[in-house]
């Protein structure tokens, strides 16, 4: 399994390490990630772990220890993950290792706006919320509600989006 480090150097990492990344037991079942997504995910997990002060072997051992410490992945997950790494090895040319097309990168790494008509928070019990807000004395907006809201509590609507 080829990994491109931040120096742009291509290094051979054990396939099994890639399988451990994909089969991470904290993430549930292993989806049918495409080779492009595998390319992204293994770099995303492994490159930050790479310490240039250590040798490649030390870094690889450290990464394996990290995933082993998390806990065992299921046999089924590992088997599936190994197959995905094999597909990655077969389908991603060395020149493309570590590189993500702009569209996919923007999508995976960055916030983006959802449909403006969709509320970020749907209030099922507006009266309950109004009571809570009166307690908090907080600025107040609702994108969707079922009961009339007193005029003085309505402020500007905010466009819902991912982010923080």
């Amino acid at each position: 399994m080829l990994i491109r480090l931040e120096t742009k150097e291509l290094v051979e990492f054990p396939d099994e390490l890639g399988a451990l990344v994909l089969a991470d037991p904290r993430e549930g079942d292993v989806p049918d990630f495409t080779p492009d997504l595998v390319n992204c995910l293994i770099h995303d997990a492994l490159v930050p772990m790479f310490n240039p002060s250590f040798t490649h072997e030390q870094n690889i051992a450290q990464a394996i220890a990290h995933f082993t410490q998390i806990g065992p992945a299921s046999a089924a997950s590992l088997e599936k993950a190994r197959a995905l790494i094999a597909d990655y090895n077969k389908n991603i040319a060395p020149d493309a290792v570590g590189y993500v097309d702009r569209n996919l990168m923007g999508y995976l790494y960055f916030s983006h706006n959802t449909d403006a008509a969709k509320p970020a928070l749907v209030i099922d019990q507006p009266n309950g919320l109004l009571d809570a807000l009166a307690d908090l004395n907080a600025e107040f907006t609702l994108d969707e509600y079922t009961a009339p809201v007193p005029e003085h509590l309505l402020k500007r609507k905010r466009k819902p989006e991912s982010g923080g």
Binding site: E27, D44, R102, G106, F110, G128, L136, F140, G164
Partner: protein, 169 residues
């Protein structure tokens, strides 16, 4: 956390990070919540969409961008860290489902890796990292006290009226 009704945004801080001649933006929104000392900060990473036709841009060594942007976010947070009680970011996943379950699952993993990296730099001040998953979204919260210790959070959870699966990271 933009758009959330319990938050009163008092200021924002926004910086552009240039990686390989491409601009990316980190935005912090500083919020106050009544009866809470300190800031509740929302974090957003943005691509400079529309600045160039994405079809003409070569593929990018993405992890460099991700690390640079997350590193910049940590640097931006540090001056106010002493007064910060909660930091968070989230994904809404309904639209990701429309794009396909693979995209959603990949994005959650990527955001989770960023959260873990940032936590290492911030945990001396915000020791708790929780990942909260519900129908339609995933959020990561870095907090001074365990998030359930805040009555405002518990109120939010009740009003959300959806099941939240919490993982402490």
């Amino acid at each position: 956390m933009a758009g959330h009704t319990l938050l009163n945004q008092v200021r924002t801080k926004s910086e552009v990070v240039i990686v390989n001649n491409q601009p990316y933006t980190v935005v912090l929104s500083y919020n106050k919540v009544a009866d809470m000392d300190g800031y509740v900060i929302g974090l957003k990473f943005a691509d400079a969409e529309g600045s160039m036709d994405s079809a003409t841009i070569k593929p990018t060594y993405a992890i460099s961008v991700a690390l640079a942007v997350a590193h910049r976010a940590v640097q931006m947070l540090k001056p106010d860290l002493a007064n910060t009680i909660i930091l968070g970011f989230y994904l809404l996943t309904d639209d990701l489902d429309a794009r396909g379950p693979l995209a959603k699952k990949a994005k959650i993993r990527v955001y989770n890796n960023r959260a873990q990296e940032m936590h290492k730099a911030l945990q001396h001040r915000l020791p708790h990292l929780a990942r909260l998953e519900t129908l339609g979204g995933v959020a990561w919260l870095f907090t001074e006290k365990i998030h359930t210790a805040y009555s405002q959070f518990n109120r939010l959870e009740n009003e959300l009226a959806k099941q939240i699966r919490t993982t402490l990271c």
